[in-house]
């Protein structure tokens, strides 16, 4: 397939990373994921293998024990995981949440956490932003952190905090200055690194949420939870800004994951269509089968260009607000279109769990909603790129 041809022009190191990730993922076939999906269990062995092979430390600078590569390399890792039929959602955040420590942490904080995050000894893959009462309106979040001596006391609740039960540290966004007293609309939120091992049972309670996918997502409750002041990242009150920079990298990486999903669906559909004989020949000889597959392919390749562009610009230090959003939206739409096409191509068999199509379809659907839903991306483009009034 021609999708392979763009491997030839890319940096050979990235190609090699792809090949190694594909080989690793070969040890985690469909049955592995189906079994976990049924039991709603965490893919511990898979995450361990990725950690030991150093792939989750791809973005951590070499001085802290990572590989110090750019977003393009990280995107390649996640794309190949998804393309192999695996699910990187269990650990993708371990790759990028640490970016907030890297960019805004003090030298001490970096030395304290990053090497152990790079080795996998510490998992920083819980990201506490979303709350039940405010939805996408992050600035209205209610969780409060109040300074008392050398601590902050945190009260409130997060929802959809994925992987909280499989994380040692949480990056927490909480309000430190009441909205009414804040200097500006975006001021007054702060970012903390919470030591979850200490906090659980000491003011932090985690409650799993069962969802349509195996995503280990939870609600987290804070009841007078104490966080040492030395765990505040950067300046108090600047947290929203810090979180936003991290979100751009996250969007590009989620975009790459959905490109991987789309490629998985396309290959799965082509293979099935070529092998399924009805009316005396393979169903793939009908244009009614070919065209949706070809269209999904074209849509995926186009979306991938935006993912790659956003990753490149990020590596050059550019502001990629628009590109990161577009990349995530286009890629998530491409993967969903491919998923729907793949199910249709499989006919009734697509519903059978053993084909993995229905599982992958459920999994890839998430990314039109999280980490940011399509409408909010369109609002962003309308307002910040096209100069129309803010609609919300």
């Amino acid at each position: 397939m021609n999708a392979e041809s763009n491997l030839d022009v890319e940096d050979p190191q990235i190609t090699q990373i792809r090949q190694s990730v594909i080989a690793l993922c070969g040890n985690f076939p469909g049955e592995y994921w189906r079994d976990l999906d049924q039991k709603r269990e965490y893919p511990t062995a898979f995450v361990r293998a990725l950690t030991e092979a150093g792939f989750l430390a791809v973005l951590i600078p070499e001085e802290y024990g990572g590989s110090g590569l750019g977003l393009t390399a990280a995107a390649a890792v996640l794309e190949e995981i998804q393309r192999s039929g695996c699910n990187g959602a269990a650990c993708h955040a371990q790759m990028y949440i640490m970016g907030t420590i890297l960019r805004h942490g003090s030298a001490e904080q970096k030395a304290r956490w990053l090497p152990r995050i790079a080795s996998g000894e510490l998992r920083l893959q819980a990201f506490g932003v979303s709350e039940p009462s405010n939805g996408t309106d992050t600035l209205s979040l209610k969780t409060r952190a109040v300074r008392q001596g050398d601590h902050y006391i945190v009260n409130g609740q997060k929802i959809w905090t994925s992987r909280a039960e499989h994380s040692d540290l949480m990056l927490l966004l909480a309000r430190t200055t009441p909205k009414e007293e804040a200097k500006s609309r975006s001021h007054g939120l702060s970012v903390f690194v919470v030591d979850m091992q200490k906090a659980v049972g000491n003011g932090m309670t985690i409650k799993p949420i069962r969802t349509m996918i195996n995503h280990s997502t939870t609600q987290v409750f804070f009841d007078d939870m104490k966080v040492p002041a030395e765990n505040l990242l950067g300046e108090e009150g600047q947290g929203f800004k810090y979180i936003l920079t991290g979100m751009n990298a996250e969007r590009v990486l989620i975009g790459a994951e959905t490109i991987g999903d789309a490629r998985w669906f396309i290959k799965k559909a082509v293979d099935y269509a070529n092998g399924r004989n009805v009316f005396g020949g393979p169903i793939s000889k009908n244009q009614g089968i070919q065209f949706p597959i070809a269209k999904a392919y074209a849509q995926t390749e186009a979306a991938n260009l935006m993912v790659q562009k956003a990753a490149r610009l990020y590596e050059q230090g550019k502001d990629i607000g628009a590109e990161a959003n577009m990349a995530k939206m286009l890629a998530a739409e491409a993967s969903w279109a491919a998923a729907d096409m793949c199910l249709q191509t499989h006919g009734g068999y697509g519903f059978a769990e053993e084909y993995d199509v229905e599982r992958k379809l459920r999994e890839t659907r998430l990314y039109q909603i999280a980490p940011i839903s399509t409408n909010l991306i369109l609002s962003y483009l309308a307002e910040h790129v096209l100069g129309m009034p803010r609609s919300y």
Partner: protein
């Protein structure tokens, strides 16, 4: 003990090979290429020998186009120490490969050469045997188990009808079969380290080997399409068909 591991860049085993329209060969334009899977097993064997303290240095050699450098890098990321790329864009037949490898083996003073039993592109299964003959060394082909002890190698071979265990004197040439081991994937830190390992660039002329092909490809064709089978109701019917229609019993 120094180990030499030759690796070949071939069409990826997952790619469906297509014959060129003029029948002159297999179409390799825009096709994904990878290390010959048997060679991955050779590299793995060498790396395990180094980890066990039997081997001290692993030299990776590839004879092929500039892009074969990436195949060498993959082997270096798995644990090879340095590489030699003998660059040529021509087709190199097994005899020419064996002649080049002979000189490199001698120049390097390699005690063991570990090769794949064949490459999945042309399936020749000749290079290792020719190399052993040219070097005047022992050979242990189709290895599914290798033990190195006291200047000898004990090799279990996969032969028709079972397993055969032989003991050969070092220095030797070993060719590996599929079941010898499960090759590792390179970790990210090792991929990064491999970028810094040295690769010497040579040409066939540097070794004074004439690589002009001695074989002429007359034509290349797709394998015949498999036709549908038949279902038989009973053993008797099967036997009857084998006897009367197929004429094989």
């Amino acid at each position: 003990m120094k180990v030499l591991v030759p690796v070949k860049r071939v069409i990826d085993y997952n790619v469906k090979a297509r014959v060129k329209a003029d029948g002159s060969g297999v179409d390799l334009a825009n096709v994904k290429m990878s290390m010959n899977p048997f060679d991955e097993i050779s590299v793995e064997q060498a790396v395990r020998m180094k980890e066990a303290g039997t081997a001290t240095e692993i030299v990776i050699v590839s004879i092929g186009p500039a892009a074969a450098q990436e195949t060498i890098r993959t082997a270096l990321a798995m644990g090879g120490d340095r590489g030699i790329l003998v660059k040529t864009d021509q087709t190199v037949e097994p005899l020419a490969v064996a002649k080049i490898l002979k000189i490199i083996t001698e120049q390097e003073g390699a005690d063991i050469v570990i090769l794949g039993k064949q490459a999945i592109d042309d399936d020749s299964n000749q290079t290792g045997q020719m190399l052993a003959a040219l070097l005047g060394r022992s050979q242990a082909t189709f290895a599914s188990e290798v033990k190195i002890e006291g200047g000898k190698a004990e090799v279990t071979r996969e032969v028709d009808g079972g397993l055969q265990t032989i003991r050969v004197n070092l220095p030797t040439v070993i060719t590996v079969d599929l079941r010898l081991n499960e090759p590792r994937y390179a970790s990210l830190p090792n991929i990064m380290k491999a970028r810094k390992k040295p690769i010497d660039e040579k040409t066939p002329e540097d070794y004074g080997v004439d690589i002009t092909p001695r074989l002429k490809v007359l034509k290349t064709t797709e394998p015949p399409v498999r036709t549908a089978g038949v279902k038989v109701e009973s053993v008797q019917e099967l036997v009857a068909k084998l006897r009367n229609e197929a004429g094989v019993i």
